[in-house]
Symmetry: C2
Subunit: 403 residues, 2 copies
C-alpha cells in the first residue's frame, strides 16, 4: 500500500461526509417525537423505536462536534438540537441521574444503573453548549459531570452485585472515561482540573492496568487489563484475566494524545508499544481481524462472542495506528495500519447500502447486518473516520512541506 | 435410523454411567474445601475455582437424584453431601437469600440478585433430603421455596433495572421454574399445592406465552415467547420479540409430562405441536442444529451469540422428542428425533476426553472447548441422558410386550 496520505485523508473525509453522516441524517432523526432512532437495519429502515441513552447522547455529541469543528452547518445543529431538547426533557430521573433507556416518546424504561449514561450526557451537552451557545446546556453538562465524580467509586451504585470486600476490583473504563470527559469539558471546568485529572489518569492506567508478565504466560509483553485490584495487582478470576483488545487500544490512542499534549514523547512511545503488543496478542492469524475478548492465560473466556470481529475494535485500531504513525513515524505502526486498513475497509464498509457493518463472525462474514442497534449508533464510525482523516491530513501536510 | 429402542436406552445409560458421571466424579469434587469445581477444560482440568451457586446446587440435585432414583451408591451420596454441607454453611446471606457466586473457600462474591439461586437450592436440598434423610436439608429446601414464592413477582428485587410501569412484562422462566420446583418438592408441601400450581402453570404458559400469529409474519404457527405483557399481550420490543428455542422446547416437554400425569392427552398433543413449530422455526437449514436466540419478526437479535449451537438446547430437544414419541407415537416426533440425534451425538459428545462440548459456532465447530464453566455444570447433560434413557427404556418394554 502506497503512503499517499492525501488520498487517505480524502478517503476518510469522503466516507464521513458523503456516506456515514448522510446515512444517519436520512434514517435516524425522529423529527416527530424528538431524539433519534438508532435501531436501523442494513438499508436504514427503523426496526425498533426504543431510545438508548448512551447512543442518544453520543449522537448529540457527534453532530455538535462536527458543527463546531468541521463546518457550522445549520442542518447539523438542528439534528443536535433535536436530540438535546428531547434528552433535556426526558433523560433524567428526579435526582438528576441519567436513565439507560426510554421508549420512543421519552418514558423511562431502564433505570440509571451506571454512570456511563451520565458520562455521555456530560460530553454531549458540553459540545452542544459549545455549538449552540445555550447556557442551559452548560448547566446540564456540569450536573452530569458532578454525577460522574460523585458516583465514580461505585459506578453501578445500588445495582452493583459484587459483595463488598471479598474481591475488590477496579475497571479501566472509569479512569479512561473520566479523562476523556475532562478533556471534553476543559472549557467549563476550573483551570487546574484538566492537568490534575490527566496526570492521575496516566499514572493509574499506565501503572495499575498494565500486565505483570508472569501472569501472562502466553505473552512476554505487557498488555492492558480490564479489571485489577485497587492496588493494581492482577486477580486470577474471569474478570481479572479478561483482555478487551479494542478497549485497550482505544485507551492507548487516548494516552498517546495526552502524551502529545504534554510533550511527553516517552509516554507516546510507551502507549504505541502497548498497542503493538495487544495487536500481536489479539490478531486472528487464521482469518484475520481482532478478537473481541480474550483470556490472558488462554482459558475459556466467559463471553460467547469472544471470537467475533466488531466494527469499533477495528476503527479504534485504525485511529491508534494512524496517530502513532503521525506522532512517531514508526514503521511498525504503518505495517499494522496497512493490515488493519485492508481488513476493515474490505469487511466492515458497506458500499451497497452505506455506513459500516458492526458484527462479523470469526471468519469475517456479516453475522448481524444491522447498521445500528442497542449499542451501535452514530458514534464510533464517524468519530474514527474523522480522527483518521485528521492524522492523514497532518501527515499529508508534513509530506508536502517537510521542514 | 432403526427404531432399536433397547440399543438407544443402552446408549444413553452407558453415556451417563460410564462417561458423564465419572467425568464429574473425577474432576469436579473439591474434597478439600467443599463444594465443586465447575470450570473444567476439555480434559477436566480445573481452570477457575469460583463457585457459582446455580451449578453448585444443580450438582447436589444431580447426585442426590441419581442416588435416589438409579442406585443408592454411597460415593454418590458422599458427593452430594460434599456440596450440600458447603452450601448450607456458605450459600446464603443473613436474610436467608441465596448468593449468586462464592469464592473457592465460600466467601460471597456476588449478591443474591435473582430468585433462580433459591429455586435451584430448593430443588437440590429437597432431593438431598430424600436421599440422605437429613431433617435439616428439608428445612433449607422449604426456606428456599418460601423465598421463591415471596419474590416471584419481582424476581430480581432491588436489582431490577426496569422502570416501574412503563412497559410491564413477565417471563416464561418464572411459571416454569415454579412448576418444576413444586413437582420436585411435592413430598414436602401441603397436599393440594401441587395440583393448584400445575393447573395455574399450564393455564398461564399455554395461554399467555403462546404467540399471536399476526405478530409473527415469519411463521404461521404458534411459538413460545420468553417475555409478554402481564395479560399475555405481545410487546414489539427486543425482549418481547425474543424466541429462545431451547427454553421453549424445555418448557414443552415439561408440559407434556404434566399432561401425562393429568391424563390430559389433548395437552400432550398441544405441547408436541409447539415443539414441532419451534424446531421448524429454529432449525438452521444451512448448517444444521438449532439457533440459540431468534427475533420473531426476523429483526437483528440483541444477543451476539444468537446463531451458536448450545449443548442444552439440543439435549432438551432430545428429551422432548423422545418423550413426545413415547407418549403419542407420532411420526413427526421420530423424524425430528433422528435429525437431532444425528446432529447432537456427532457434534457435542467428546469421545476423546469424555462429557459433551457446550458451545459450537453456527457451522458446528467447537467454539469454546470447556466441559464446565460459569453456566455449564453437572446438570443438563446427565439429566437429559437419564430422561432419554427412561423414554427409550419404556418404548423398549412396550416393543417387547406390546399389549
Amino acid at each position: 500500500m502506497e503512503q499517499d496520505f492525501r488520498a487517505l485523508a480524502n478517503l476518510y473525509k469522503t466516507a464521513l461526509l458523503d456516506d456515514v453522516l448522510p446515512f444517519w441524517e436520512r434514517h435516524s432523526i425522529d423529527w416527530e417525537q424528538g431524539g433519534y432512532f438508532t435501531c436501523l437495519d442494513r438499508n436504514g429502515k427503523v426496526y425498533d423505536t426504543d431510545k438508548f441513552i448512551w447512543l442518544q447522547n453520543r449522537q448529540v455529541w457527534t453532530f455538535s462536534t462536527f458543527y463546531h469543528q468541521i463546518e457550522p452547518r445549520e442542518d447539523w445543529l438542528a439534528i443536535a438540537a433535536n436530540g438535546a431538547d428531547f434528552l433535556a426533557k426526558h433523560g433524567r430521573d428526579a435526582a438528576g441521574n441519567w436513565y439507560f433507556a426510554l421508549d420512543r416518546s421519552g418514558n423511562p424504561l431502564v433505570q440509571p444503573y451506571n454512570i456511563f449514561s451520565d458520562c455521555f450526557a456530560a460530553m454531549a451537552f458540553s459540545k452542544y453548549a459549545l455549538a449552540s451557545g445555550k447556557e442551559w446546556a452548560k448547566d446540564i453538562a456540569l450536573q452530569a459531570y458532578d454525577n460522574v465524580l460523585r458516583r465514580k467509586d461505585n459506578p453501578k451504585g445500588d445495582y452493583n452485585k459484587a459483595y463488598p470486600g471479598t474481591r475488590p476490583m477496579k475497571s479501566l473504563a472509569v479512569p479512561m472515561i473520566l479523562a476523556n470527559l475532562t478533556l471534553e469539558m476543559d472549557w467549563l471546568l476550573p483551570s487546574n482540573t484538566l492537568e490534575h485529572v490527566l496526570n492521575a489518569t496516566v499514572e493509574e492506567v499506565m501503572t495499575d492496568f498494565l500486565s505483570d508478565a508472569s501472569f501472562a504466560p502466553y505473552s512476554d509483553r505487557k498488555l492492558m487489563y480490564e479489571n485489577v485490584a485497587p492496588d493494581g495487582l492482577l486477580i486470577d478470576c474471569f474478570e481479572g484475566r479478561l483482555i478487551n483488545p479494542g478497549h485497550g487500544i482505544e485507551a492507548m490512542w487516548f494516552i498517546m494524545d495526552i502524551g502529545n499534549r504534554l510533550g511527553d514523547s516517552k509516554l507516546v512511545h510507551q502507549a504505541i508499544e502497548i498497542v503493538l503488543n495487544i495487536l500481536d496478542f489479539a490478531w486472528d492469524r487464521e482469518y484475520g481481524g481482532l478478537y473481541y475478548f480474550m483470556d490472558t492465560k488462554g482459558h475459556p473466556p466467559q463471553q460467547l462472542e469472544w471470537d467475533q470481529k466488531l466494527w469499533w475494535v477495528h476503527l479504534e485500531s485504525l485511529v491508534a495506528l494512524s496517530m502513532g504513525y503521525r506522532l512517531t513515524g514508526r514503521q511498525e505502526c504503518w505495517d499494522w495500519y496497512e493490515k488493519l486498513h485492508e481488513y476493515s475497509w474490505s469487511h466492515f464498509a458497506d458500499p451497497q447500502w452505506g455506513e459500516w457493518f458492526g458484527y462479523l463472525n470469526r471468519q469475517g462474514d456479516v453475522l448481524i447486518d444491522l447498521k445500528g442497534g442497542k449499542w451501535k449508533g452514530c458514534f464510533h464510525v464517524p468519530r474514527s473516520l474523522y480522527l483518521c482523516h485528521q492524522q492523514f491530513d497532518a501527515l499529508s501536510a508534513a509530506q508536502a512541506y517537510p521542514y
